[in-house]
C-alpha cells in the first residue's frame, strides 16, 4: 500500500450528457491486476477519502450521541441525582440500559442510517462529482471498484462504531451496580452483530446506490419506511427486511414492563439464529454481487 495515488489526468467527455464510458466489454491491458487486487487498490484509495470527508462529521455526531448519553448517565449517578435510570417506576441496571441502547440506538437507527448514507454514496458520489470516469478508465474490472469502495465503507464504519460500543459498555454497564463480567458475552455478540448489520445494510444500499436514480431517498424510504412498516405488519412481509434477521441475533432482553416490554413483544417473532445468519450472509453476497453487476453493466450518464 502506498501513501499517494496519482489520479489519471483524463478529461471529462464533452457534450451535454456524455456517457462515462461506452457500454459493452472494455479492452483491458494484459497487465491488469486480478479482481481482488484491484478491489484492494480501490479500497486503499477510498478509505482515506471516506474517512476524512465531510460525511465523517455526520458519522462522529451520530456515533457520539449514545456516548454523550452514557456520559450523562454516569455523571447523574456520580452526582447521586435521579436515583439511576428508571423504567416503569423501577430502577434499571446498567446491562439492561446497555442492551436497550444497542437495540434501539445502534441496531434500529445508527446501523441503517450509516448503511444508507455511506452505502448509497459509494457509486452515486462519484457520479455526482463526475469523477467516476477516472475510475472507469483504469484497467480494472468495474465490479472491483464497487467491492473496494464497499470494503472501505465497512472498515470506516466498523472502526468507528465498534470502539464507540466498547466505550459505551464501560460507561453504561457499571450503572446501578451492573456487572461488566456479566455483560461481557453480550458485548461480544453485540460487536459481531453490529459488524454483520453494517455489512448487510452496506451491501443492500450499495446495490440501491448503483441501481437507482435517487438512491438516498430510496434508501431512506427502505430503511425508515418499509422496514419499520413490514416489521409490525402481520404475515411474512417482515422476512423481506434486514432488521427482522438482525433482531434474532440480539442477545439482550428488554425490560418486561412498559415501553420496553411492548417493543419486545412486537419483535418477539424471530427466526432461529442460524437461519438469520444464513439470510444475512445471503443478503451480503447477493446484493454485493448485484451491485457489482449493475456497475459493470450500467451506463452512467454525467450531467453537464
Amino acid at each position: 500500500m502506498s501513501d499517494t495515488h496519482p489520479v489519471p489526468n483524463v478529461p471529462t467527455p464533452p457534450g451535454p450528457a456524455a456517457p462515462a464510458s461506452a457500454p459493452g466489454p472494455v479492452a483491458l491491458p494484459q497487465q491488469a491486476p486480478p479482481f481482488f487486487s484491484a478491489a484492494m487498490r480501490v479500497f486503499d484509495l477510498s478509505l482515506g477519502q471516506m474517512l476524512w470527508s465531510r460525511r465523517t462529521i455526520f458519522l462522529a455526531l451520530i456515533v457520539g450521541s449514545p456516548l454523550a448519553l452514557g456520559i450523562l448517565f454516569r455523571v447523574l449517578e456520580v452526582m447521586g441525582l435521579g436515583g439511576g435510570v428508571r423504567v416503569g417506576g423501577g430502577p434499571v441496571a446498567g446491562p439492561t440500559i446497555f442492551g436497550g441502547m444497542i437495540w434501539l440506538l445502534y441496531l434500529r437507527f445508527i446501523v441503517p442510517v450509516l448503511g444508507v448514507f455511506y452505502g448509497t454514496a459509494l457509486i452515486a458520489d462519484e457520479v455526482d462529482d463526475k469523477t467516476i470516469t477516472y475510475l472507469f478508465v483504469r484497467p480494472i474490472p468495474r465490479g472491483a471498484i464497487l467491492v473496494g469502495k464497499y470494503l472501505a465503507y465497512l472498515v470506516t464504519t466498523v472502526f468507528v462504531v465498534l470502539p464507540s460500543v466498547a466505550i459505551l459498555y464501560l460507561l453504561v454497564v457499571p450503572l446501578g451496580h451492573g456487572s461488566l463480567a456479566g455483560a461481557f458475552p453480550a458485548l461480544l455478540s453485540d460487536l459481531a452483530l453490529l459488524g454483520v448489520g453494517l455489512a448487510a445494510y452496506g451491501a443492500l444500499f450499495a446495490f440501491i446506490g448503483a441501481t437507482f436514480k435517487h438512491p438516498l431517498v430510496t434508501g431512506l424510504v427502505f430503511a425508515f419506511g418499509w422496514e419499520q412498516l413490514a416489521l409490525v405488519l402481520p404475515g411474512y412481509l417482515r422476512r423481506l427486511t434486514v432488521a427482522y434477521y438482525l433482531q434474532a441475533l440480539v442477545p439482550h432482553s428488554m425490560p418486561q414492563d412498559g415501553l420496553g416490554g411492548a417493543l419486545q413483544a412486537l419483535f418477539r417473532d424471530v427466526p432461529p439464529v442460524w437461519v438469520s445468519l444464513v439470510w444475512l450472509a445471503g443478503y451480503i453476497v447477493v446484493f454485493l454481487a448485484l451491485a457489482a453487476r449493475a456497475v459493470e453493466r450500467r451506463e452512467y450518464v454525467l450531467e453537464q
Binding site: 478509505l47 417506576g89 446498567g94 465498534l162 470502539p163 457499571p174 446501578g176
Partner: protein
Amino acid sequence: MTAKTRYFLLGSVLVLTVGLSIGLVAFYGGMPTGFFSAQQGPDELKYIPADATVVAYANVKDVMASDLRQRLRRFEGVTDEGRNEFKEQTGIDIESDLDHIVACGGPKGVGGEANGLILARGRFDSARIEALAVGHGGTVEQYKGKRLVLAPAGRDHEGATHGPGMAMAFLAPGLVALGGDKMVRLAVDSGDGAGSVLTNTQMMKLVADMDNPSMWAVGRFDAITAQASLPAEVTDRIPPITWFAASGRVNGGLQATVKAEAKDEQGANNLRDIIRGFAALAKMQAGTKPGMQAMMPDIQLAGEGKEVSISFAVTTDMLDAFAAASALSGKMKKNIEKNETK
C-alpha cells in the same frame, strides 16, 4: 493509505482492544471491586462480615409501593393496626421511612449465639429508638466510637442467663444494624470495607449477577443446611447444592428466578429431574381443576452443566384468580355454616 488514516485505524483498534480486555479481565473474575464502577451491590455490604453464609437484600420502598403488595393486602385483609403501633413506639413508618434492608447470616456461633445481622437504611429517630430500648431494660455502651444498645439477656426458669445477646447500633446517619452482639460488633469493625463480604470473591460474583431486582438472596447452601441441623433422612434427600442465588422483581406481579449450583453435573441433572417432576405433578393436579390452571405460574427450567435455574412469574391475573377462588371458598364455607345452624 496516509499516515493520518493509519493512526486513526490504530487508535480505533486500541480503544476496542482496551474495552475488550477490561471486559475479559472482569469476565474471568480479575476486576477489582469498584474499578470502573461503584461497588457491586448495596453500600451496606461493607458492614457484612466476609464469612457470611447468606446475604439478602430487599428494596422495601419498591416492595411497599408495588401493586403486588397492595393486591396481597386486599387479599389477606391486612389492617394497619400493627404498623401504627410500631410507628407510635419507634417513630418508624415501615412504608415510608425504610428504604432498603440488607441481611446476612454468619457462621454458627458458639453456644447458639445469634449469628444474624440486619442493616436497615432509612430515616430513623435514633434518640427515640435508643430511649425505647433502654426503657425495655437495654444498656448502652460505646464501641469504637459507635453507641451500642445491648438487649438484656434472657433468663431460664432457674434464673441463669442464656440465649443470644442482641444488639443494635447506628452505624451511620440513616443506617441501623440489628442482630447478635458479635455480629453488630463485626459490622462496626468492618465499616471501612476491609474484611467485609466485599472481599469474598465468590459471594460478590453472585451479588454482581443480580440485575437490580427488588429483592435477592445469595449464599452457600451447604453451610445453611449444615447450620440447620436437619435430620439425616432429610439431608440425604437434598441434592448436593453448593451455591444458590434467588431474586425477585415486584412490578405489577412478581418475576422470580432461583439459581443453584450443584456440586457436580450429576447432582445438577438430579435436581433438574426433581424440579421437572414437581412441575409435572403440579400441572397434572391443575389439569383436573380448570380453576387452578389460571393460578399456576409458568415455570421455566434452564441452566447448563452444574447450574440449574428456575424462573417463574406470578402475574396479577393469577392473583386475581386466586382472590376470586378464595372469595368463592369463603362464601361456600359461610353457606355451609348457615345450613348447619339451621
